[in-house]
Amino acid sequence: MSSDTSPVSVLQARRLTRTYRMGEVDVLALRGADMDLYEGELVVLLGPSGSGKSTLLNLLGGLDVPTSGSLKWRDHDLTSATDAALTRYRREHVGFVFQFYNLVPSLTARENVALVTDIAPDPLDPDEALDLVGLRSRRDHFPSQLSGGEQQRVAIARAVAKRPDLLLCDEPTGALDVATGRLVLDVLARVNRELGATTALITHNAAIAALADRVFTMADGRVATVTSNATRAKSSDIQW
């Protein structure tokens, strides 16, 4: 992302709240979170467990709707979107990477990617997507035949294969060791650069924040601080 042209805001969240009703008590997962995301940037969300990171990410990705507040993707209002509209939003614009990969066990690496390219309007070729994560040679392997890191890279290939405008990753390295985690972060950074997808990444590892253009810290259901990094570090420079 170049800093001399004024950045385009693609996603605006204002005073988002999300309440879960658990029997008698209401759990306030989000209590008024504000956030803007700019085209093509990579942001990191930090914060203690239970601070509402996943909840916010789910709202951004159209997996869920806020209890109150407003949320806009470019000119789409996601606040009160219907299920069909949210589905279309996810289908056309969003890519997800999950902590536990969530690959379909009965499909090979390539078929898992094809699951997404089958329904996307302008997808990459599944092989191309696997190239991006360096796993083309493993395309015919089933998830059970891949290591955790490899599974996560397939999951990334699957998320980026639709050329998403927004790539959301919830603790993508949470289940991985340092070296593998680095590899995965590299891939994410490269995809962000090469495809220009606005990327939001949740992590518990503060060191990873150095990779980002901007860092959001969440506490108690709100965005507490936002800091910008002058330069983005390389994953190999990160101390875990």
Binding site: L63, D64, T87, V94, N102, L107, N112, A114, I119, R158
Partner: protein, 788 residues
């Protein structure tokens, strides 16, 4: 192009092949039952309609003593009558061999000029009669084949006491003899029902019936009032000894054919429903579990933007595959069963065009109902998936809620160990599933009971007929009424130990405007050879004073003991008498009146006569006695009980074993489907829990005991319920039998219950072995490591 989603579906199906297979088999059984029974029914209907239409089967039938041909025009004048055919139908003795004489047969007249207008016959081998020849006959094909009579063979006939030599020129059958059963017999037996057709002049000459007829067939005009026509016909033929006109529904062949088809139709619309309902239940159980396992993949698909519709379609398609596989198997097996059933029916029903037809409608309905069963089982679960919010589905399912239910609070589970308590809580947590599963096991058991019950019914029938009613060795039908001394003379034959006569007169019993036709039997005092039987199997003394009626007849006529019954003795010049009802007897078959032979003689104003004689004979003399009887001009027919019994057994053996087999297979398939799926699902749902127990030090058998113990409870409750349900179903099946023909209390033998229980337990054991193997292979580390 094959989408990834389709591939996923196919692989998921293959991965669950056994479970999916058992469900498909249950669907297949339902379709097979439907296709075979419904298809056979439709084939019978088609063949019957075609035959009746082509050979102009009549609407009204009446036999009489003798009427001049001129009366025919008056029959034609009755309003509502479209066509009239008059003919001669006479009793005849068919001399098929020197050694054996079958029971009396019928000789029927054929017009010398052209075909009968109604109740035509089909000559299917050889040629029609040559006009004017009095020595040619056509013969009922089943009878000819049973006795090995060939075209061109000489067939001596004893007509009206005189023997005539005739030659067989053709084999024939006719719509009025589709079910060729001799009057007074219980089962069709082709060796015992002989019919020959002869030129009308030959018959008239032999029986001195020139210019007369004694049998009428009518065709009604469309919209005619059948009861009105019957009344007019009876009034018109009264002076000519009319025996009472009947509609098609009382014509014996048509009546039994209709009854059989009705039963088949009822079965065709109930049995398959049981299977398809069980299949729906299994789909619900299995798919419910599969969806539990697939929460994350489903949520992932949703996160990627797959719509509800696409996901719902995916699961429906998966289920539809199971439905289609089941339907295709069912169509294949059903066609095969249907052919076999139709072949069996061909032995009983002479329907020339009868062959099993699988028509498009049947195929479509089969596919439709299997889909319906599969999809209705899947509906709830699939809707639940489609509406599952993608974000929430990302979390593992919350632990299911258990509570100490009523039973437990009352101390019901206190004495159980922890493993048994786990199983018990699990069952009580899903009472509906528990009940459906029990119902399924019960259905499986009941299906086997019903399949085998036929054997018990036939055994009971055999017992009552051959052990209780017919205590004679040989029965004789006389060519007319013979004096008592002719009966006594039979006792002089070598080897004859005992002889008793009986007189049967056709009669119409009426009271309060209701009437029924039957026979009035005149009994010798204290009979030993032919006996009056009442349920449950005890002999009733034959009446010497007064009239005793079949209990069913008493019921139909609304009589009580002491009431006067109008008994119209049918036959020319015979009186109508009023007799007080002295009692009733719960006979298993037919509608009869019973009086002492002396009473009957008095009513008819003459001496004691007999139409039948029953003989007890030394076994080594039997053949000789039969041969001697066959030579007597006064004897129309002779039958040997041992031969009849052998033929009865041969007739029924094939049918009964086929039914037992099919029903057992179906019942076993149901039981396997239920037990295997339930156990499999329970195992999968609790793999983690069970593996934890193993880690804690529980043994394999203790752990499998939890899963299997639960299934054992289903089976142990389902079994007795199923035995009872089978009994009830048998009662319902028997209730479709016309109570005026047969009244059989349902008796199910203990061995039938034992057999059904064994089939279901065996099926359950096999399923358990499968599951036990899976428990043994439970990979403790893997199960605990992977996230659901």
């Amino acid at each position: 192009m094959v989408t990834s989603l389709t591939k996923k579906m196919m692989r998921d199906l293959v991965g669950q092949a056994v479970q999916v297979g058992t469900i498909a088999v249950v669907i297949g059984c339902g379709v097979a039952a439907f296709v075979s029974m419904r298809g056979t029914w439709k084939s019978l209907e088609l063949a019957r309609d075609l035959y009746y239409e082509r050979y102009r089967f009549g609407d009204v039938f009446v036999h009489l003593e003798r009427a001049p041909l001129a009366v025919r025009a008056r029959l034609e004048d009755i309003p509502g009558v479209a066509l009239v055919e008059t003919r001669l139908v006479e009793p005849v003795r068919l001399v098929v061999s020197a050694a054996e004489t079958p029971p009396p047969g019928q000789v029927m007249s054929l017009p010398s000029d052209g075909r009968p207008r109604l109740d035509d016959l089909r000559v299917y081998k050889g040629r029609p009669l040559e006009s004017g020849r009095d020595d040619e006959v056509l013969i009922l094909s089943a009878f000819a084949e049973a006795h090995g009579l060939a075209l061109g063979d000489t067939l001596p006939l004893v007509m009206h006491g005189h023997q005539f030599q005739t030659r067989i020129v053709g084999y024939a059958d006719a719509p009025e003899f589709v079910y060729a059963i001799a009057p007074g017999e219980f089962m069709p037996d082709p060796t015992r029902f002989g019919v020959v057709w002869m030129d009308e002049r030959a018959v008239a000459a032999a029986y001195r019936m020139d210019g007369a007829f004694d049998d009428v067939v009518l065709r009604l005009q469309p919209g005619a009032d059948p009861e009105g026509v019957l009344e007019s016909v009876d009034d018109l033929l009264e002076p000519y000894g009319g025996l009472g006109a009947v509609l098609r529904d009382k014509q014996i062949s048509n009546k039994l054919l209709t009854q059989e088809m009705g039963q088949l139709r009822a079965l065709a619309s109930t049995i398959p429903i049981v299977f398809l309902a069980v299949a729906a239940f299994l789909v619900q159980v299995a798919l419910g579990r599969m969806v539990q396992l697939q929460r994350v993949p489903i949520a992932t698909l949703k996160a990627f933007g797959y719509t509800r519709g696409e996901i719902a379609r995916h699961f429906f398609a998966m289920i539809a595959v199971v439905g289609v596989v089941g339907a295709v198997m069912g169509l294949g097996v059903g066609t095969w069963f249907g052919r076999a059933m139709t072949d069996l029916y061909r032995d009983f029903f002479a329907l020339p065009t009868l062959s099993f037809r699988l028509d498009g409608e049947l195929v479509l309905v089969s596919l439709g109902v299997s889909m319906l069963a599969a999809i209705s089982g899947a509906l709830g679960t699939v809707l639940q998936i489609a509406n599952m919010p993608p974000a929430e589905a990302m979390q593992p399912p919350a632990p299911p809620t258990y509570s100490r239910g009523l039973i437990e609070r009352c101390g019901g589970l206190a004495m159980l160990g922890p493993a048994a308590r786990m199983a018990a809580r699990d069952m009580l947590r899903r009472p509906l599933r528990l009940m459906l599963s029990i119902a399924g096991i019960a259905a499986a058991t009941a299906v086997v009971v019903i399949g085998r019950f036929g054997e018990d019914a036939i055994d009971a029938m055999e017992g009552v007929i051959f052990d209780h009613v017919q205590a004679e060795d040989i029965s004789v039908t006389f060519a007319g009424e013979v004096p008592d001394r002719a009966v006594r003379a039979l006792g002089q034959l070598p080897g004859v130990n005992l002889v008793e006569g009986q007189r049967a007169v056709a009669a119409r019993f009426s009271s309060g405007g209701v009437y029924r036709d039957g026979a009035l039997l005149g009994w010798t005092p204290d009979p030993h050879l032919r006996r009056l039987i009442e349920w449950p199997f005890h002999t009733v003394a034959a009446p010497e004073q007064g009239l005793v009626l079949t209990a069913e007849l008493v019921r139909v006529l609304g009589l009580t003991v002491g009431d006067l019954v109008e008994v119209e003795l049918l036959g020319r010049g015979l009186p109508t008498v009023m007799l007080p009802l002295a009692g009733s007897v719960r006979e298993p078959a037919g509608l009869q009146g019973h009086v002492g032979n002396d009473t009957l003689a008095r009513l008819l104003g003459g001496s004691r006569l007999a139409t039948h004689a029953f003989l007890a004979v030394d076994p080594q003399y039997e053949t000789e006695v039969v041969a001697r009887l066959s030579q007597m001009p006064s004897v129309l027919g002779v039958s040997r009980k041992s031969a009849v019994l052998a033929s009865f057994r041969a007739q029924t053996r094939e049918t009964r074993s086929a039914f037992v087999w099919i029903a057992s297979l179906f019942g076993a398939a149901l039981a396997v489907g239920i037990v295997y799926n339930n156990a499999r699902v329970a195992l999968s749902a609790r793999a983690r829990e069970l593996a934890s127990l193993r880690v804690l030090g529980f043994t394999r058998s203790e752990v499998s005991g939890i899963v299997l113990g639960e299934q054992a409870v289903h089976v142990l409750i389902g079994l007795p319920v199923g035995l009872f349900a089978g009994h009830q179903a048998a009662v319902a099946m028997m209730s479709t039998v016309d109570p005026e023909t047969w009244r059989f209390p349902v008796v199910i033998a203990t061995r039938t219950y034992g057999f059904a229980a064994a089939v279901v337990l065996g099926a359950a054991l096999i399923s358990w072995l499968f599951v036990f193997r899976q428990v043994s292979r439970l990979d403790l580390v893997a199960v605990l490591k992977t996230k659901e």
